[in-house]
């Protein structure tokens, strides 16, 4: 009998919930019982309440058990879990779970299924089909496919990816670069991390396609230093891609050459802003640059540079594999395709839900999220990271669509949703927004650098009931100065959580 394949995730959240101990216990127990198993450390399926999730390839297909603690392992063996045996923790097939089966997993098609380091496994599950199609194409046709698919930057700004690429394609230069912004610093977001840990080759493929499209031969992934597991996964995947001829000179015998390196950030939120990121990659303080010139024209080391978020690049392979139309058919309005949504904060079922644009916030919070973890009413959600507005229940029927969010002064951003129950103090949340801006400001422009510190002080005076009306007026004035006077989105959007908290939760400011 051949070895039973057992999957235990090496995803950061799974590990934080004890996956390493579970994996070790399974290995030990198998040895003790003389049972041969093949342990694969995969990414996470994104159902965090079931982590550590254990999957086996049983004769009837993949069967999941979870959450499996080390102390459950012996009883799993007793239940003959390798054959899909019955057990209190048996979930069945992940694909049959209501939470999972209505998702549209395009980007995350392989995450949690394959061995993240293995090129063979990647290809066996449809990987590199996009690049195979792209290699013989001229750059302009690749760019056209991305443009026609309607893909917009998934980092948060939602700028059309194809237009960015077209600008870089149109500039003559001796060297061009492709840079991935993997500085996923927004609280409530982890889709970049999950993709890089669970299917790093998808990012590698997307960046290689970008290189082929615009004529860039060098790529960098700028990864935040808080993601050590993603760092290891990316480096292992890149080494294997080189060994298999999917990176380097004349990829698979084509004219396309592309080198790729991972660089670590150093704990600066501002380096998620693309021009700060470029300065940081150049070995400098990560300070925001004036625009223009655009990075597409003068980017890394002054050369034309495609700079996109992880999920933007990871959406490209399927566009090149199945065509622009296939991707464009998902979504609503001008928000085309799918968005990996991250459910975070005070929710029962947190994790990753990839859906076509158009789902409502309420469906995500209650149908997928299961309501609050604490069992108390959800009072507010913050979407789009620390610069996103706080939304009240009356806005929960908003559909996930860049324009629908913008219309109510909110921001979809990178698709992170953080839920708070009714114990939240919204004045404290507004104060924290200013405090965070003060901690993370790069210091280049005054509204952000000084305004954020003054913001904390003014909110403290409101809390202390010192010249209340006067200080509320000052806060309003300060928010306007930051919004319209800051150089980048950090200072420019910090007022959004503050103003929305004031507007929708005024009772917390008395």
């Amino acid at each position: 009998m051949s070895a039973v394949k057992v999957f235990v995730s090496r995803d950061t959240t799974a590990l934080a919930l004890g996956a390493e101990t579970t994996a070790r216990a399974i290995g030990d127990e198998a040895k003790k019982r003389g049972i041969e198993i093949e342990l694969v450390r995969n990414g996470s399926r994104g159902m965090f309440w079931l982590e550590p999730l254990v999957e086996v390839v049983a004769p009837t297909g993949r069967i999941a058990y979870g959450p499996v603690k080390a102390m459950d392992v012996a009883s799993l063996f007793d239940a003959n879990f390798g054959q899909g045996g019955m057990h209190a923790l048996r979930i069945g097939a992940v694909e049959d779970q209501p939470w999972f089966k209505n998702q549209n997993r395009l980007c995350f098609a392989r995450v949690g299924i394959t061995d993240p380091h293995s090129v063979d496994d990647y290809i066996a599950h449809g990987g590199y089909a996009g690049l195979r199609n792209a290699l013989p194409m001229v750059g302009a046709d690749i760019v056209k496919a991305v443009t026609d698919a309607g893909l917009r930057g998934r980092g948060g700004a939602a700028f059309p990816t194809g237009i960015k690429w077209n600008t870089v394609l149109g500039v003559q230069a001796d060297q061009k670069y492709v840079v991935c912004n993997a500085d996923e610093g927004d609280s409530g977001t982890f889709s970049d991390r999950m993709l890089m840990e669970g299917d790093p080759l998808c990012l590698v493929e997307g960046m290689t396609i970008a290189g082929a499209a615009v004529g860039a031969t060098q790529g960098y992934i700028y990864l935040r230093s808080e993601y050590p597991h993603a760092y290891r996964a990316l480096n292992a995947a890149i080494a294997n891609a080189y060994a298999a001829g999917w990176l380097g000179q004349n990829i698979r015998g084509s004219e396309v050459s592309f080198d790729l390196e991972v660089r670590l950030g150093a704990g600066a939120y501002i380096c998620g802003e693309e021009t700060s990121l470029l300065d940081s990659l150049e070995g400098k303080r990560g300070q925001v640059r004036f625009k223009p010139p655009l990075p597409a024209i003068k980017g890394l080391f002054g050369k034309p540079t495609v700079i996109n978020n992880v999920i933007s690049f990871a959406s490209v392979p399927i566009i090149l594999e199945k065509g622009a139309e296939f991707y464009r058919d998902y979504g609503v309005g001008r928000s085309r395709g799918t968005l990996p949504i991250q459910l975070a904060g005070n929710l029962k079922r947190t994790g990753l839900v990839e859906k076509a644009f158009g789902v409502t916030l309420r469906e995500l919070l209650y149908d997928y999220g299961g309501g609050s973890l604490s069992g108390r009413p959800i009072r507010s959600v913050q979407v789009g990271g620390p610069l996103g507005a706080y939304m009240p229940d009356s806005q929960f029927d908003t559909v996930l669509d860049y324009e629908a969010f913008a219309a109510i002064g909110a921001m979809l951003g990178h698709g992170g949703i953080v839920a708070f129950d009714d114990t939240v103090d919204m004045l404290e949340q507004a104060r924290y927004a200013m405090e965070f801006c003060a901690v993370e400001s790069c210091g280049k422009c005054t509204p952000c650098r000084i305004g954020s510190t003054r913001g904390v002080e003014v909110i403290d005076r409101i809390r202390a009931n010192i010249e209340r009306e006067k200080n509320l007026a000052t806060l309003d004035d300060l928010c306007n100065t930051m919004r319209f006077g800051s150089l980048c989105a950090l200072g420019g959007l910090t007022p959004d959580p503050v103003v929305s908290a004031l507007k929708y939760f005024a009772e917390d400011f008395v």
């Binding site: 934080a16 977001t189 670590l264 953080v418």
Partner: protein, 179 residues
């Protein structure tokens, strides 16, 4: 005669002497190793600083002039980069570094109370080290574990989810023994 006023030397690329005390030989070797392993990379400074901190647990101020000279930068430029990034530390930390996530998703699950508990039980504020040199407490703004907060990172990559004050005390106890 009045003693001459001491003027700090301005250290520019390649110039010496500088005001820093000399680097102990072992540290110097580690710094030179970090430089040699990375110097040909475009934008080498961050990779070098990471390698120095990985080896020494901090970036000694005595090493800045050396790094500057080898990269043809000014000491001020290197100092500016080291101090810009939260990750790089200019003094050695305690035997174990404990980082508590302060960001919103963790706040929604009690991170504010956890932060207060940690400061109180350890008797230190953020960026400080307990008097026995065992634990340094740092804030961190998101560890990417936003679905299962509050999150606490012990050391380089030992991440813990759903950390209550009681779990925190256990983690610190274990870390102290191991440190």
């Amino acid at each position: 005669m009045k003693p001459a006023k001491k003027i700090d030397a301005v250290v520019t690329a390649g110039s010496s002497p500088h005001r820093d005390p000399p680097l102990p030989a072992a540290m110097r070797d580690a710094v030179m190793h970090a430089i040699e392993a990375n110097r040909t990379k475009p934008g080498a400074l961050l990779p070098i600083l990471h390698a120095v901190q990985d080896a020494l647990r901090y970036v000694p101020s005595e090493s800045l002039a050396l790094i500057a000279r080898e990269l043809n930068l000014t000491r001020a430029e290197v100092h500016g980069v080291v101090t810009f990034y939260h990750h790089f530390r200019s003094t050695p930390p305690g035997r174990v570094v404990v980082q508590i996530c302060r960001a919103e998703a963790c706040q929604a699950l009690g991170a504010r109370a956890l932060e207060a508990h940690a400061k109180q039980t350890l008797g230190i504020d953020f960026h400080e080290t307990t008097s026995d040199g065992a634990v340094t407490l740092e804030p961190v703004y998101c560890l990417g574990n936003c679905g299962c907060g509050p999150s606490v990172l012990v050391g380089h990559d030992e991440l813990h989810a759903r950390v209550t004050p009681a779990v925190f005390d256990e983690l610190v106890k274990t870390a102290r023994v191991a440190a």
